[in-house]
Amino acid sequence: MVSLIRSLVKEHLERLAAGDVNLDDFAPRVIEKARSMQGRYSAFITINERLASEKTPKQQMKLPFSVKDNICTRGLRTTAGSKILDNYVPPFDATAVHQIKNAGGFVIGKTAMDEFGFGTFSTNCAYGAPKNPIDPSRVCGGSSGGAACVAAAAEFPHIAIAQSTGGSITAPAAFTGTVGMTPTYGRVSRWGLIDYANSMDRIGVIGKCVYDAALGLSMIAGYDPLDSTSLNAQKTDYTTLIGGDIRKLRIGVPKEYFNGDGSAVVKKNALDLLQRLERFGVVWEEISLPYTKYAISAYYLIALAEASTNLAKFSGLRYGMEGDLDGNYEEYFADLRGRSFGEEAKRRIILGTYARMSGYRDAYYIKALKVRAKIIAEFKGAFARVDAIATPSMPIIAPRFDDVEKLSPIDAYGMDRMTVPANLAGLPTISVPSGSEGGMPTGVQFIADHERDGMLIALAGACEA
């Protein structure tokens, strides 16, 4: 099977191998292109203007990467999309960034996102919302909106390092027609990732095609003693799995993901894609995952409980935004946090704090953990029968900015219903384009059992054939 999608990354690597790339001006030219892209789509919070002054020889800057702005880059401003970290320059690289730099990658800039990852559309942004390159009146999806935007718009070889907590890779990948890979929880070290909900946060990749995503994942995956939840697994070259044998793979189609609200075209495109996969020997069947309906509630309770503790450290004392040292400690940090956090961040801190207060903790936080255990068990049961589960990536195509504004927070949270269950369970997922609706891309999401990331790459590869 041969991929019908051109990989600029693959072609670039081939030219590099042949010595056909002038590395002396390659990186500066890419930065120039990123700058011009920024004018159109606001995909970046920070473009790496310091690249020219970096000590790394130009000859070692071979492959451009963008990095979501909640992933620490040494010496390069990292805000996590929040004003409270406006001036924050990390003293260390995230392990994922360290790995891409070691493998000849370089960082062109830090991509736009919802503040701390708090959003589904990349509209809760302190530094401007990225615009969808296919239709700039529409959102990119969130929270890794900037990452997907660069992946979709780049006319140069590029891989986006993105991150998901509840679907923040799948959503923007689907909305921009790119490939988003969210690996098994623990496959990529979280060291250097600014936490949203640590028990779900995962670093992954977005690329124009499966090859780009597979290459990116191969570069950043691996055991890391600095992250206690890191998976002790062998390094794999995931690109070699593309085109692998997928005969007899069984795919489950959960009716709960297809029955509810949402675009009929999105659903149909997903099912049509599955039919196209039949020619490779893939079989599919309807399954049922009844606990799915509790996933959104459980997700938001756990994620926000964790987030509300994670954000406690931002008090204007050691790093980030500082205020005038007036009043006592409590007055100082309350004022600074009040001024620096956005509305959604405040909402989530309050909700998350509420869920873990004594008197409510058992009813909300603890109960949500029990639901989570049920959902994981339900997935495990399903994977005894099927190899992968296919769902629409998002219930709808990328909405217009003005339509997003009309959504209540609860409606907006509900948009995560396709992605949240797998994120609660730490399962690997990949989102690939499944077709289009009115000129906008639609996506299908495949979910696999823990550590079967490689099988997902093979399956996704077949979707491009």
Binding site: C72, P90, I194, L226, S228, S308, T309, K313, R318
Partner: protein, 471 residues
């Protein structure tokens, strides 16, 4: 109901690195904030990694206090905003502590241990221009931030402040013998004490350093609360701060309800499973505990139970010193006598502990040999030891110096003077009253600051007395 006292003891554990990062726990001679990194400063993107050694230290404490060790344990985030907290939450153990349901016997009293858990120490605050309630500003030193602590919580089983202090002294000796606590690294043990009178509300006194202060703070509280009762003022539930200089406690905050720390499981730290093999390896290497050591001292060194207690419980290093001296010198009874009586007295007088004094095993053994050889008298030795503890110089040299200063002609002068000043005693001796000689020897000895050999003085006195009879 009477007085009910419970203790929470926070002991800094003797691990090389901090609980969740690689920074040194030992910040002797370091600048403030020198032993810090992104983890213990709570930098964005940093993650904790557990130091297994701290868990093992906790397991040793658990075994020494006969606690039940949990099969599985995890860490939680205790959230509250305070400037000594780098993350505004503390990583601690909440639902399931490392161990629970133990006890420690203090004399006749069996003190129940509710739980022991492991947590990270907050930073150290330095209040400038006042105390915690009214300082002009406060400096923060994160060197302490993230050091491993064991929190040992008792049931409210003490009925007197003195019992609480005795418990702490025994506990300290256990911690030192286990090797989990090392006072020489400027490690600290801090105490929170809660106390209620006659079933009244519980008052908590926070952050008391020093066992003497625990007793003082509790005594102050009993007097204060009794005073309130007499004035018919109801004691309210509150947290108080002990001011060691003033010797009193001050209200920090009223506690109308249990503080709400909004605990969640720390998702960065996976569950720790305590396997049978792990427990066994700790058990096998568990050091000798102080009560076992006392029994061994009595049995092997043939010293009294009281002496053994003093040697063991005063300071683990003193007991170590004693044993090393015995090994080098032999005669454990003699070593015990000189160590626990005279050496300890001199150390206490100088407010020193054996390990930060000038006393060394070699020179102390030299001192014991001087006595044994008869080169110095015991009486002189008791004086000499003070000078030795003061200076740390060779006892033989010190003795020689002392002896040189007292030549025969020196003693002639002394004896003559003593006889002049005590004519009555001299006359009594001459008229046959033997006891008068003892008195005169005592006077002469005192006149030489006990440096002279009493036998030599006796001879000298007799010479002078006989000479005068002959006249």
């Amino acid at each position: 109901m009477g007085v009910m006292i419970g203790l929470e003891v926070h002991c800094q554990l003797n691990t090389e690195s901090k609980l969740f990062c690689g920074d040194s726990s030992d910040h002797r001679g370091k600048e403030p904030n020198e032993c810090t990194c992104p983890i213990c400063l709570g930098y964005p993107g940093s993650k904790p990694v557990i130091n297994k050694k701290a868990i093992e230290h906790g397991m040793r404490i658990a075994m020494a206090l006969s606690c039940r060790i949990a099969d599985e344990m995890f860490f939680s985030r205790k959230t509250y905003f305070y400037p000594d907290m780098s993350k505004n939450y503390q990583i601690t153990q909440y639902e399931i502590p490392l161990c629970s349901n133990g006890y420690l016997t203090v004399g006749e009293l069996k003190v129940r241990i509710r739980r022991v858990h492991i947590e990270e120490d907050p930073a150290r605050l330095q209040h400038v221009g006042g105390d915690i309630t009214n300082a002009e500003y406060t400096l923060i030193d994160y060197n302490r931030s993230g050091i491993a602590l064991a929190e040992i919580v008792t049931e409210p089983d003490f009925t007197t402040p003195k019992q609480a202090r005795q418990f702490l002294e025994i506990l300290l000796s256990i911690l030192e013998h286990l090797g989990v606590y090392d006072s020489e690294k400027e490690a600290t043990i801090r105490c929170d004490a809660n106390i209620s009178l006659d079933g009244g509300e519980r008052v908590e006194v926070k952050n008391i350093t020093g066992f003497e202060n625990v007793e003082k703070a509790l005594n102050f509280e009993i007097i204060r609360q009794n005073g309130m009762k007499r004035m018919e003022v109801v004691v309210q539930r509150e947290t108080r701060h002990f001011d060691a200089e003033a010797g009193n406690t001050k209200s920090l905050r009223k506690k109308e309800y249990e503080e709400d720390y909004g605990y969640i499981f720390d998702p960065d730290l996976p569950t720790i499973r305590v396997t049978a093999g792990w427990l066994e390896s700790i058990k096998k290497t568990q050091p000798e505990l102080p009560d076992q050591r006392v029994l061994r001292f009595v049995k092997d060194y043939k010293i009294g139970d009281y002496d053994a207690h003093v040697l063991v419980y005063t300071d683990k290093n003193l007991a170590d010193f004693y044993e090393l001296c015995c090994r080098k010198y032999g005669k454990p009874e003699v070593v015990a006598k000189w160590t626990m009586n005279y050496l300890l007295k001199s150390l206490n007088w100088r407010r020193e502990r054996i390990n930060n004094s000038k006393v060394r095993i070699d020179t102390f053994v030299e001192f014991l040999r001087l006595i044994e050889s008869g080169k110095i008298t015991e009486r002189f030795a008791k004086e000499l030891i003070k000078e030795y503890v003061d200076t740390g110089e060779s006892p033989a040299m010190l003795a020689e110096k002392g002896a040189q200063e007292l030549s025969d002609s020196d003693l002639d002068v002394v004896v003559e003077k003593v006889l002049q000043e005590n004519r009555k005693a001299a006359d009594e001796f001459r008229s046959g009253k033997e006891d008068a000689l003892k008195f005169l020897i005592g006077r002469a000895l005192a006149a030489t600051q006990k440096r002279a050999d009493p036998n030599r003085l006796r001879d000298m006195l007799l010479k002078h007395l006989n000479a005068s009879i002959a006249q």
